[in-house]
Amino acid sequence: MTIFNSSAWIVAPIIIPLIGGLLCFLWRRDTFFIALFISLANLLSVTTLLRQFLLFGPLRYRMGGWEAPLGIALRLHGPALLMLLMTAVSGIGITLYARGYFSFRISALKHNNRHEQQERFFWPLWLMLWTALNALFLSGDIFNLYVTLELVSVSAAALAALSGKPASQIAAFRYLLVSLLGSLSYLLGVVFVYKTYGILDLEMLRQIATPGPGLQMALTLMTLGLLLKTALFPLHFWLPPAHANALAPVSAILSGLVVKGSFFILFTLWFEIFASSITANALDLIGLLGAGAVIWGSLQAIRQQRLKLLVTYSTVAQLGYLFIAFPLTATENISQEVWTAVTFMVMAHSFAKTAMFMAAGTIFLQVGHDRIRDLAGIRKSLPITSFAYAIAGVNLIGLPPSGGFIGKWLLLTAALTSGQWHWSLVIIAGSLLASVYVFRVVSRLFLTPDEAIIQECRPHSPLQEWPALFLAIIALLLGLIAPYFSLILETTEIVANLAPGGGL
């Protein structure tokens, strides 16, 4: 007999980074190795979880042994598993990169105390954030979701302020307030749900939820709050300063992972728990905002003169795609494809954006600035980083075989089969605009360098360059391992409910 029953693996992705975070705060020495060990252990546990999931299907875990209406349930379904996997893989990349980043700064720049301090606090905050994200993906209780959301906001805001420069602190302050506002709005929604049904468990809510004024209000409030956190246009105002002014690994975390958390909740609530009370108008409205985000974000990205800001605005634009998916779910028989599409886009964007911010950060550190105008020929001295950036860019444009392409293809298919033309045009326009802002930078990076401009800058350690390439390539090849993902998504009873009779 084993010492613990196998379902306990579901809490491992929460507990492992949590312990790591606490240890990193306590120990202070060799924190990188703690973090690395933790991220590997986390990957291991997620893989084990994946195996169990494939064997037994969706899992449900009663925290503290208490049954659902009273206790808190964790649940593992396909999308959550994929998010865990995504976080685990990106997390390893970020952990490695952060080490390279900080060690370079500590060794290369003056005021190294400040950088040491940043690194020292980065690790516990990052591991805590990781805990929070994993907890968020696994949570099966709307109030617990609120707690995890707060956990995410607090650690993310603290990370965003880590760089210490005034702009980042103002941005972090605003970020914190906005997240808080979002969480409060969500909490009020929870209050309304509790008022109406007296239940907090998601599964049970799904069974008993019926359209009504209470639910509608609750849903509106939760949606508003989560949209604010996910930075859907025009609620994106806080995102660019916060993401652009943070340290590079932090930007990667914020753009690559954190926004996905709130989006994940939103999507779950809309299409799983309260699917019955969603009206077509609401879907269209969200889709419209998403289209606005794609266009506006891309145009802004095209206009930017600084690399990090460009990447940030592209986040705004890419998030828009996720919302364009909303109205496409209106047709019954294609909603599964839309689920798949969204999962793909989320994952691809996460990997690609993480890689992109890492590359931008390395370029910034090595060259000393990130004015796009003056980046000609960086490829010569930072080939790996440049390739990472370019490959990540290919992902954002959505060229095959990247994960972004699979997502766009599925969305386009959904739009065209359901006869909702306009969305497909936005998607196409978005990728064209994306190619403009991606190539604006890439063509400079890959120019034959002018000897006068380029100084010989060699990266300090391979950790500064390789993680970005690694993640970018994963994003690029995501499309090729698509069958496994759809396998995971299809073992989800939720998806089966959404699309009866669906399946490969």
Partner: protein, 110 residues
Amino acid sequence: MLTNNLYNLCGLLLFGMGLFALFACSHLLRKILAVNIMSSGVFLVLIATAYRPLGAGEIDPVPHAMVLTGIVVSVSVTALALILACRVQETSNHSLSQSERNTNDGDSEE
């Protein structure tokens, strides 16, 4: 039922007031206060919903626990926000005055 509704109303009004103030005020501290007022409002709605007059049955303890959690969360967030606000003030080169008019912190919520 009247009491519940009364306090509910109060909570919602507090929420609305805080929301407006969060957007309208530019002083960082005032924004933090506004958020705190908002959260108080939310808590009030929750607790008021659970309220039963004496003798009218058990009071549901779950909302109480939720509010307790919420209060602790809001205290921690407030503390962090305050320190951040201080840092912003310290690093931005502006004279610090009590009046809101003089704070130029670049923070606006639109």
